[in-house]
Amino acid sequence: MSTIAESPALFELFKLRAEAVSAQVQRVATKELALELIVRLLHQEGVDDQPHCYAVWAAGPMLNRSAQEKMERDVPGLKFTVTRELAADAKVGISQLEWALANTGTLVQTADAVDTRLVSTLPLLHIAIIPTASLLPDIPAVLRHIDPRKSSYLSFITGPSRTADIERVLTIGVHGPERLIIVMVDDLEVAA
């Protein structure tokens, strides 16, 4: 895996393709830098402990329990306990995903746990954390890593939600997020 991930061309292609479908791509060297970036983003978005201002984070491998608690203290309005009501009312949803596909700018996730889907469908902004080392070239490559026998709900996400149903005019943000920020983290381990 690492040999692919170290290929700068693969990352460049991923960034190009993801941005072509209106996602934003940020790459950071460490988990610490990723957390700083996310905190900054949450502040920018006006996340607060108020109705309509929450951020919901579907807990993933990047943060352990104590790190989560610290984050919740640092950012008022950030919740790691994701309920349907909170997610529906939140401004921002955050989740970690398993794989990234360079040639389509896609993120792939095992999404059996409902909170992973709630945070990436209901809020207007989805922040997606992804290990740089998880970069794969394309769909056939990721099919070798995911297994529908082990996961009942697999999600492929390519950019924010979109429609062209009225006069074929591309409009970003329909039922899902209208913005997708991808935070690619170099020292984050690929989930088994």
Binding site: V114, L118, L122, H175
Partner: protein
């Protein structure tokens, strides 16, 4: 054709927002699709898809069993039925048992096919479509006009009016605001719905998985928020192996919307927890509705290779004029015609099948490698068998088939036309015939047909011989094209003979579903053309060439006349279209171009059969450039001119606007000359330019080539 149907065509043509939206889309789609497939071996990819789907279609029963076992092992309930009513009953009963009051739906053509919404609504259940386009047409009380973009026929003003009328007053025709409005209104529906209904794009037998491809995110919400998820899946969605989703996922978004991948792909393989921790109740309904029967039909089994991308709609010259409310019922366009005939009744396709002009665009882009035009012809054939041919048509074929009577009548016509003819054109015909000359002038019938003229040509002594197949237009309207062919071949040392017993190529009969007539034409011609011992059989008409090379055999096979098949194959091997033969002769050094002639700018119109069946579109371009002329390509050079043989007579209201667009594209190049390899296209385009009073010249490639050689 019923007046009602003709009227629906006229209404569609008179709707500028429809024709405008579809027309612009078809141009953007062509470019977008090409870009999406950049660097991809489309032929390889679609062969893979066709193999996967065809193999699945051969054992639908087995795969459905395998799917059910795999899905049920994970806790999914699978219900399989051939009966659309049983699907509706199953869902209604489930809804009633679980006290379901409201349902959200993501897009599903299978449920459109069985009119599920109406059934559930009648039982008092609130059913909301959530795909934006589907929601719009649901509110407007319409049916989808396009499989992928259901509301493409509506303007933002119309959408705003529908929203204001049906949901909340005061909506403005501002697209982002309309989309936001839909998001807001449907969000509360998602959060309160008791059941979600979806379709599926793929069903994987070995894992019991369904794959759902969407852009708006509504399928994710539909399958996540309500506690019950019901997926209605047509049996043709089944494939065997999980890995096989890869080629379909690669092609579907590119062919459907020119995207590399849609925003979302969800692969659901079993129940997942609900938001309250309870397990989701997941029901998958495998709906047959004659798909198994279709798979047992040797001709139509192919149609099960469809992945519902709708690219056949997007490239269709007729669809872009009339849209899906004329062209189909639930499923629209080329594949829709076939599916309507099967999922409804054969006779339901009677009128819409006549819309197909047989240009072959759809066959070229189909990611499932379905020969849609051929299947539409097969529908025509079966309809003709079931209902008999119309009287007028029968009368025409009895004349065409009787060589002597046909020729006598044409000669009589050449005299009768005199009052209407001027400079080789007929510009006006009286009364009921006036439709035919309204949008393009017709050529006059030649005083002396080619079959007589060739006898007067003094040909040099040659070592080789070619038999010339004239076809009706060269023989009776444009004998000068035949003379050019003789001139060119003589220069290469080939003598041209005209077997007198040759008759109509059978295309008109074949394209009308009259296969007995077409087979008789085939047998007569095979005998006539092989009578003389010739090296080549050549035609200056691509449609005739295709008849000689392919259709004769197909016609004979269709009616079981096997005795003539071997000779038919011999004929096919010898047959060449004019430009391909001429290029070959140039390459062999048997034809030499004049040096120092003043070349001219020209544009080239691709005839459907030359480009998409014979694949010979480069030969004439190269010949004319070698001769010192400059090619200026027109927009959509390979889009049909609207002639389509007898199509222009049956549906002049569609033939005319297709031609208009072609003429625009020709005139935009500024070239003083259009070259064409098909006398039918020459007739249509020359006549159209004459009506416009344009001085652009229209020639058959053979005519200019004859003047360019040493």
């Amino acid at each position: 054709m019923k007046q009602e149907f003709k009227q629906s065509i006229l209404d569609a043509l008179a709707n500028p927002s429809l024709t405008g939206a579809l027309g612009n889309f078809s141009v953007a789609y062509r470019a977008g699709r090409a870009k999406a497939y950049e660097g991809i071996d489309f032929e390889g990819l679609r062969t893979q898809i066709a193999d996967v789907k065809s193999s699945a279609a051969s054992r639908l029963d087995q795969l459905a069993e395998q799917f059910s076992r795999a899905a049920e092992a994970r806790g999914t309930k699978v219900f399989r039925t051939n009966d659309p009513q049983a699907v509706k009953d199953y869902i209604l009963r489930l809804a009633q048992e679980r006290g379901v009051k409201s349902i959200v739906k993501s897009k599903s053509m299978a449920t459109e096919e069985i009119h599920l919404n109406k059934y559930l609504e009648k039982a008092g259940i609130d059913v909301q479509e959530t795909d934006l386009g589907e929601w719009i047409i649901q509110l407007a009380g319409q049916t989808p006009s396009h499989m992928v973009m259901p509301a493409i026929h509506m303007t933002k003003e119309e959408v705003a009016d529908v929203f204001s009328d049906k949901v909340e007053e005061g909506q403005k025709p501002d697209i982002p605001k309309l989309v936001k409005f839909a998001r807001g209104k449907l969000r509360s529906k998602f959060l309160t719905a008791d059941m979600g209904i979806s379709g599926a794009n793929i069903a994987v037998a070995e894992t019991g998985s369904i794959v759902i491809v969407t852009n708006e995110g509504n399928a994710r919400l539909t399958t996540t928020l309500p506690k019950i998820h019901v997926a209605v899946v047509g049996l043709e969605k089944l494939i065997e192996r999980f890995d096989d989703i890869s080629p379909i996922l690669t092609a579907l978004p590119k062919s459907a919307t020119a995207q590399l991948l849609t925003s979302y792909v969800s692969i659901i393989s079993g129940p997942v927890p609900n938001t309250d921790g309870s397990p989701k109740e997941l029901h998958i309904i495998l709906m047959d509705n004659r798909r198994t029967e279709m798979s047992a039909d040797p001709r139509f089994k192919q149609a099960l290779q469809c992945i519902r991308c709708a690219s056949c709609l997007n490239v269709c010259p007729v669809f872009r004029l009339v849209g899906g409310h004329v062209f189909g019922k639930v499923y629209t366009g080329g594949i829709g015609t076939i599916l309507t005939a099967w999922f409804g009744a054969l006779k339901e396709s009677d009128e819409i099948q006549s819309l197909c002009i047989q240009c072959g665009n759809c066959k070229d882009v189909c990611p499932g490698k379905i020969d849609i035009p051929d299947l539409i012809l097969e529908l025509r054939r079966r309809l003709a068998l079931e209902q008999g041919q119309p009287m007028v048509q029968k009368a025409i074929f009895s004349v065409v088939n009787n060589r002597r009577m046909f020729h006598t009548m044409l000669r009589a016509a050449s005299i009768a036309q005199k009052p209407f003819a001027k400079e080789g054109f007929i510009r006006h015909l009286p009364m009921f015939l006036s439709d035919m000359t309204e949008f393009r002038s017709l050529p006059t019938i030649a005083d002396e047909p080619f079959r007589d003229r060739i006898k007067k040509i003094e040909q040099p002594k040659c070592a080789e011989k070619a038999a010339f197949f004239g076809g009706c237009l060269v023989d009776f309207a444009y004998p000068e094209m035949g003379e050019s062919v003789v001139k060119v071949l003589n220069k290469a040392g080939i003598e041209v003979v005209f077997p007198e017993a040759q008759t109509c190529c059978g295309a008109p009969a074949r394209y009308s579903g009259a296969y007995e007539v077409a087979a008789q034409n085939a047998a007569d011609n095979i005998r006539a053309l092989l009578d003389d011992d010739v090296e080549y059989v050549v035609s200056a008409c691509p449609t005739c060439t295709v008849a000689l090379k392919q259709d004769f055999i197909a016609n004979l096979e269709a009616v079981g006349r096997t005795a003539d098949l071997a000779a038919g194959r011999r004929l096919a091997e010898k047959t060449m279209d004019f430009s391909t033969l001429a290029s070959q002769l140039v390459e062999q050094g048997r034809l030499k171009f004049k040096v120092g002639i003043d070349g001219t700018k020209f544009t080239y119109h691709d005839s459907c059969h030359l480009k998409r069946t014979l694949r010979a579109e480069q030969a004439p371009r190269k010949l004319m450039q070698q001769a010192g002329n400059e090619l200026v390509e027109m927009q959509e050079s390979d889009m049909c001119c609207g002639m389509g043989g007898s199509y222009t007579l049956k549906l002049p209201e569609l033939s005319a606007p297709i031609l208009e667009r072609k003429l625009e594209n020709i005139q935009q190049t500024g070239a003083p000359l259009v070259l064409i390899d098909c006398p039918g296209c020459v007739m249509q385009i020359r006549g159209g330019l004459d009506k416009r009073g344009a001085n652009t010249k229209v020639l058959h490639t053979a005519q200019l080539l004859a003047e360019s050689l040493e």
